[in-house]
Amino acid sequence: MSDTPTRDDRPAGADQMLPIDGNPAEQPQADTPARGYTDEQKYRIFNKEFMPHIDSMYNFAFRLTTDEDDANDLVQDTYLKAFRFISSFEQGTNAKAWLFRILKNSFINDYRKKSKEPAKVDYQDVETTYNSEDAETEHTVDLRAESVSDLIGDEVATALNSLPVDFRTVIILCDIEGFTYEEMAKILDIPIGTVRSRLHRARNLLKEKLRDYASSMGYKEESDE
């Protein structure tokens, strides 16, 4: 075998535009043009386009599951699925977004139920609650930039982990992984407008958590609610 998978460094310009074809987390769609890659081509794609994203994928998996063993399993399952359904990936398109979408779907289908996260809030519940009190969600959080700037990474991570998983997800994708709204819409299978509003809500929740940290550390906030 001339082209065995190796762990490459991330190539420049690895973030081409979508589309993401097919949905490997389920069955490949009937209308997905199956690409007749040879074995050698498959390994080359896997090697050059998939493996460079493995650290980002692992980081995403760990942020979703908040557990190293689960993250290991999730990343492994995702890469095996990606290889199995490689014919529904179009060479040269956005491999990172394609892989993230598979990982996200695997997480929802296989891991969410047994997830060890303490706050098991279903997104549906959260969404319903939030929509029913729109005035409450459409607000700003009173917090000063100066008190945030003293927080350390662990505190930010804890605050992020305490958010319901769907809110956590949009923040990870946008602020940590740097996906565009359009890419996020495709990874999450939701409209761009929903990406925008979910991000807005997620950030409000995160700022509330950060405010709790900041105030527990004794920073004085200007408002006293």
């Binding site: 980081n59 095996l80 199995r84 700003t140 740097g178 565009t180 807005h200």
Partner: protein, 96 residues
């Protein structure tokens, strides 16, 4: 991909006078679009005008930028363990 965060805020004069903003939530949404690199030129221009006079929006802008930078730079990045990379590689090779 997204454009990088503006390294300095738009015009922030000391003379910002407006203590209250009547459309703070809309301003916040626009601030987020801009920091995410998703705003149109029109939206950027509109916010710049607001930031020249509106005290609460200036504060929001700084806070949003700070939180975004915190997430991007201060969170620990987990790397994939080498054993997992090896396992995946060997599993893939046994596929064909």
């Amino acid at each position: 991909m997204q454009t990088s965060l503006p390294s300095s805020s738009p015009v922030i004069p000391q003379s910002a006078t407006k203590e209250h903003c009547d459309h703070q939530v809309d301003c916040l949404k626009m601030i987020q679009l801009i920091l995410d690199g998703e705003a149109t030129e029109q939206q950027v221009a509109k916010l710049k005008i607001d930031l020249e006079s509106c005290q609460p929006c200036i504060k929001m802008y700084h806070l949003e930028r700070e939180v975004k930078e915190l997430l991007a730079k201060r969170m620990e990045k987990r790397c994939c363990p080498d054993e997992l990379v090896a396992t995946i590689k060997s599993r893939i090779l046994s596929f064909s």
